[in-house]
Amino acid sequence: MNDDYLWDKSGEPDPQVQELEEILGSLRYQPKPFEIPRDVPVSTRRKYFPLLAIAATLLVALLVAGVWFRMRTSNNSQPQQARVPEAPPAEKVVVPVEHEQTPEPEKNNLVINRKHRSRPSAVVLAKREREEREEALAAKEQLMVALRLASEKLNLAHRRAQGFPANQIKNQHRVG
């Protein structure tokens, strides 16, 4: 008996081998296109999972932003509401600002919180107000000097145009 048939199908085949070959031949590979059977259950939930995750993240972000915005607006509106019923509001805003600039130890927690919230704007406002006041006073002084000089010169011209000695009229004006 030759075993060549088992290697390369040459030579005389063994009847048992041939029988086995016929039995198992029905199971041999037959090339055909791959088809997914229609009855296989496909889970549709997995498709929407990423979209749901994104939507949930956005929703959480929106909620956090909303809460933060509400807290912020309520913080801003609280001092304004508190200041309204106070008797002299304008002075009360300015006075504590000057205390803030001194390195004084802080005593009251409530006061500290309010100061921390209003510190930057109040300091800037007070500083700006002080600078404007100083500038206004300096300009006022200069303006008064200029106007006095202008007035003197105008009167001098007026008197001389009328033919009166300047000093004489000036003295009369001062006595009268």
């Binding site: 300009a139 303006l143 008064m144 006095r148 010169k153 000093n167 000036k170």
Partner: protein, 201 residues
């Protein structure tokens, strides 16, 4: 093709200058308007007198622009009668500029210095209201800039042997109100008029 080419180019060539002329005219108009408005500006350039500060024994230099006038006006009280007058006077004023030099000796400033100011006051719109010339007491000139019927500026030029003063107010000025301010302002007396006079050079 040859017959259509010139006709196609010709409109392009003719439209180029026409498209350029319109913006050019607009620019020229804007420039001329700017020139006219600048010419009508009642501010006098006083910087040519700056070099006299080194020679002067006393200098008054006031430069208050529109912003500072508005800021200063806020500092004047409405309750004080004198300050109220000044506040009213400052309504509409866009600038107050003063340069006053007092010298210890005669001839410290040149006629060219005075001419640099006077030449500006010969410009369009300006008219000399008062001009008093005196060898003993010096010259005083009052100029007004008119825009229509309205006074849009004032300039006072006072030259003496030992003094050169220029006052320039930009904007509408009530001369009566301004003249009446003398002696009412609670500021130190400059004693410009009462300083000892000397013979003219």
């Amino acid at each position: 093709m040859k017959t259509t080419e010139p006709s196609a180019v010709a409109p392009g060539k003719s439209s180029k200058p026409s498209t350029l002329i319109t913006p050019l005219l607009a620019v020229l108009l804007i420039l001329s308007l700017a020139f006219v408005t600048k010419a009508q500006d009642s501010r006098i350039q006083l910087s040519s007198l700056d070099h006299l500060a080194a020679k002067a024994s006393q200098t008054v230099d006031v430069n208050i622009d529109e912003r500072l006038v508005k800021i200063a006006a806020r500092a004047f009280s409405d309750k004080d009668i004198d300050e109220k007058k000044i506040k009213d006077l400052l309504t509409g004023v866009k600038g107050v500029y003063v340069k006053s030099f007092e010298f210890e000796t005669d001839g410290q400033y040149s006629p060219a210095d005075v001419e640099s100011i006077r030449s500006q006051l010969r410009g369009p719109g300006w008219s000399r209201l008062v001009g008093v010339t005196s060898k003993k007491d010096g010259n005083v000139e009052v100029y007004l800039l008119f825009q229509g019927e309205q006074v849009a500026g004032l300039a006072v030029l006072h030259t003496d042997n030992r003094e050169l003063t220029v006052v320039n107010i930009v904007g509408p000025v009530d001369l009566d109100k301004l003249a009446n301010l003398e002696g009412q302002l609670g500021i130190p007396d400059l004693e410009i008029e009462r300083k000892p006079k000397t013979k003219s050079n």
